[in-house]
Symmetry: C2
Subunit: 314 residues, 2 copies
């Protein structure tokens, strides 16, 4: 019976914006001002147990198979078959149903912490696959657009589900993300249910042109191309009515010179990209729109590049 | 009445591969081993007239409005309103219905030659718009995936139709295109007609992931990512039955180590990308598949980067 490499480890995984407008289910970026922490400890109880859930959400399932972090660590345990059990303590920093990748962050923090206990740790790409199993518990689908940026940090593209490949995409210097979280709740499953099952050919061509232009603009430091292609013609029109005031919030951001503005993941959080000199005024304008509707908000201006999930001392 | 800047000019515009598998209607690359030439001359006859069509296709419309080069130069004349007429002589080097962007090349060569006659020449982006008008005569749609690479050269992304933006995408050093043209005829209009008008959501996500991965792979010199994402899950399955032996030709290319293989534009030309050391064997293997079906072919290994359309001395 091999011993654990450590008795206890804590990991932080950042929040994230999924879809990024033009990259439905494949593109996301980390929002490193908030995140979830998971502590993994060697336990005499076999398998995965959850000792406690604290923080901004505490009514999550304590049964490991039903919990995003629990299920993700179960997937890791199934692959590693360690000679000990793993007990988790989860501290939620990301509100439930905010569209900020909270379930992904818990899953990622769980596997990063648990990985530290193993004598032979897994690669990040393996951890990605384990975390996807956890994310599926919450969202009902195997999408990776929050998992990958929470784990790797920055703007991240994921290609493939069975054999995912991850690409960190450079973001032009001077570009910031503006993230506004209204105090409303939207379940990812419901937000997915409103989406049409099919896409028209001309919308397809338009959306793919925007996606390609956005990525080419990032790689080539071409802010004008990013601005020109930063438009979701497919998903946003179907979901925007679920967020009170969305059109006005977006218009407010664009009026301040934002490069683009759309829904973070399934919403209700709204994000924009803006040059640093316009980011604070875009944030204020977006928040003011929610305030005028008596909806409370949290808002941040963040660097998009980030270290991603990491072990922390507690 | 302002005089012409030149009495006569000839331009060459290269053939091109449209779609490039993952970039339906938005991505293309130039194939600079063959192309069309158009000579534009100042004429006393107002508007645009076509004096002659020669080369590998001579049964094209002589009426300017029905001819791709003629219509493109008409669009230029409508915008410039020169005090002289323009007469065109067209020399086709690209076979009709080959899927090698022949109509686009004639339109591009036409506007590049005619532009040389103007005292105040247009920008390349303006020429792109004029050439699109010509392409629409042949294909029935305003797509730019052949026009842009023929005009600019190399691997080119176009975002937008009304206000197109063009991005030349770098191709990793050592990557070559293999292009095999079977002696069959496929009309673009017919090849478009077979396509479904709608796309399923999961195919959409898969195709967009491949497109994004392909572009990211090109920018980051990541041949493995290009290989992993070089798959058209949408259009190729609908069109491949129009090309006898397609599946075998593709399998032959992949068996030689090609990075990917798909239909050039609407077909029947098939293209592959391969590392330089595998390109010739991929070409031979692809040609052999057509030969075994008693179908004649032309085939080339080409550098993807190219200067694009240019004025030439004749």
């Amino acid at each position: 019976m091999s011993a654990a490499a450590a008795q206890r480890a804590t990991a932080f995984a950042p929040a994230s914006v999924g879809n990024v407008g033009v990259g439905f289910d494949i593109l996301g970026f980390s929002v490193d001002v908030l995140g979830d922490r998971v502590t993994a400890s060697v336990s005499a109880t076999p398998g995965v147990t959850i000792k406690a859930i604290r923080g901004v959400a505490d009514d999550l399932p304590l049964e490991a198979a039903q919990n995003t972090a629990g299920r993700a660590v179960q997937a890791l345990v199934e692959a590693a078959a360690p000679a000990f059990g793993i007990e988790l303590e989860i501290e939620k920093g990301i509100p439930l149903g905010s569209g900020l990748g909270g379930s992904a962050a818990s899953a990622v923090a769980g596997v990063v912490a648990a990985n530290r206990l193993l004598q032979t740790p897994f690669s990040k790409l393996d951890l990605l696959k384990f975390a996807m199993q956890g994310e599926a518990v919450a969202s009902g689908s195997l999408h990776v657009d929050n998992i990958a940026p929470s784990l790797f940090g920055g703007l991240v593209l994921t290609v493939g589900i069975d054999h995912p490949r991850v690409k960190q995409i450079p973001v032009p210097k001077g570009v910031r993300a503006v993230v506004v979280h209204p105090h409303l709740y939207l379940a990812t499953k419901e937000a997915r249910a409103v989406l049409s099952k099919t896409i028209g050919m001309s919308d397809f061509v338009w959306q793919t042109a925007n996606l390609a232009g956005f990525i080419a603009g990032c790689y080539s430091n071409d802010v004008d191309m990013i601005r020109a292609s930063f438009e979701d013609v497919l998903i946003e029109p179907q979901r925007q009515s679920m967020i009170p005031g969305f059109a006005d919030v977006k218009a407010a951001a664009m009026a301040q010179g934002a490069l683009g503005c759309s829904i973070s993941g399934a919403g209700p959080t709204i994000f924009a990209w803006a040059l640093a000199e316009q980011a604070q005024s875009a944030l204020a304008a977006m928040e003011a729109q929610f305030a005028s509707r008596q909806i409370g908000v949290d808002g941040w201006v963040v660097d998009i590049e980030s270290a991603g999930a990491r072990l922390v001392e507690i």
